[in-house]
Symmetry: C2
Subunit: 309 residues, 2 copies
Amino acid sequence: MSLLLVAKKRDFSSLENALLEKDPNLDVEIWPRVDKKERVTFAVCWDHPEKVLGNYPNLRAVSSLGAGVNHLLDDKSLDDDVPICRLITGSLQEQMAEYVLNAILNYRHNFYDYVELKKKGSWEQKGIIPKDNTSVGIMGLGEMGKHVATLLEQQGYKVSGWSRSKKELKGMDSFAGKEELDPFLNATNILINLLPLTPETDGILDLELFKKLKKPGYLINVGRGDHLVEEDLIYAFDMGYLQGACLDVFEEEPLPKNHSFWNRKQIMITPHVAAITPAKEAAELLVENYKRAMSGMELLYEVDRERGY
Amino acid sequence: MSLLLVAKKRDFSSLENALLEKDPNLDVEIWPRVDKKERVTFAVCWDHPEKVLGNYPNLRAVSSLGAGVNHLLDDKSLDDDVPICRLITGSLQEQMAEYVLNAILNYRHNFYDYVELKKKGSWEQKGIIPKDNTSVGIMGLGEMGKHVATLLEQQGYKVSGWSRSKKELKGMDSFAGKEELDPFLNATNILINLLPLTPETDGILDLELFKKLKKPGYLINVGRGDHLVEEDLIYAFDMGYLQGACLDVFEEEPLPKNHSFWNRKQIMITPHVAAITPAKEAAELLVENYKRAMSGMELLYEVDRERGY
């Protein structure tokens, strides 16, 4: 029995070390050099090549190396009865919440403007967008979204949340389902996307949605690139629906060199780094789920394939 | 009796409105157009011209328009027996704490690098400086410093504080006096200066001090420009004592066009905006202190001239 690490481009050395430190008896293989395909019983995937999972007949479970699993759900080479699980750690949630708070502070305090003004050697005082006048709306209230909502509420923000089913959280206005999306948007200035990527949420961040936001509007996308209709973001700036955006995820990653987002002063770009799992924490959860899969137990953070997350 | 607003360059219209809204009977004068100098009993100053206060023989009190008062203490035209007070509001403390947290998050999450990489259209993932490995040290534990320490402690940072006399605060390691400055610095990566400017603290941020910081070192100066020996900051970068700095205050403000700081990539510059008093809050405290001064009561946030803050 072996645990296989699969990614198109990724240095797995620190994760491999952390896995062996956690369990020295573990047999870890790193794709594409796999000796005995039959021995692979657990695969850990990130940005894996299409159909590659079909090569391993004895898979008992597959884990994503992050919170997103759409790359696994979309993989037709993976048997429907192989359970899929996600990687959620306290550190991921904390990093995500910090990233979002940082993006909000940079927006409210005009830090991006000051970076530009510095280049020009220009001393120009900008106001602050007061916290009291700013409503934050979080789409997606899973493990990540709830954590972000809690931090922002503690920091004194007015927070609303929208998700498929109603989620109650202290200090948060809760909205659910399609029929409550408009009132949620109407009450939101700063929109944070943390939805899972499913057929229903693909392209949900479009011009029609941005139009319904309270002004001034601002977007923070830390979900998936495919949630956003990228050309609609530019229209939303031009129409005045949005003042700016902080994006960590994109339709195509790495974001192509010639993509128009690079030159848009309203957009802050980070290269999919909002939440990076530390190897040690990842190893702990992966070894736990490996053992559970081998002994037929229920996995931690197992995905409901129907729901898509 | 009248209340006088004095500054070299500042639009006082919103503050004047807020003062009159708070007390419609108030007689507000704006320097330099003052009809009867004898009537001025209370002056509110920010970056005021030298010796101007000597023109008002019946001053009963003078207030700074911010937390800093060194411009008033240094003014020889002001009689020694005229009480001086500062402007401290909850909003100022909150803004300051948010500014500092934002600067720390930008440093730990490499946001400044991502701004630069974006300009080049370059997708390059940087790590995060883990919170667990980072110690924050706050110099100055007055109204501002205490508030900053509390927020950072709540956010899970390891926080130390250094001040003239020992200040105990939940979750903070407390250091006091010259003899405990070195151990404080040795335990600090991210140094936040919130000291009052006095003869003892003038130029305290120098090469010798930076040398004693734990590495990697980072400076956030939100005290006064004169706390920092500006050329020593550059040496500290060159010697590897500091990785970067976020500066909101400078020896000369506005920072001169030809100042070398503008071109240093390690330095983030903001134009003295870390904490801006909202007019309404300023008006409330100023009217209160005006009334107290007129009836001979003790002022709120009165300065100890001997101590210098």
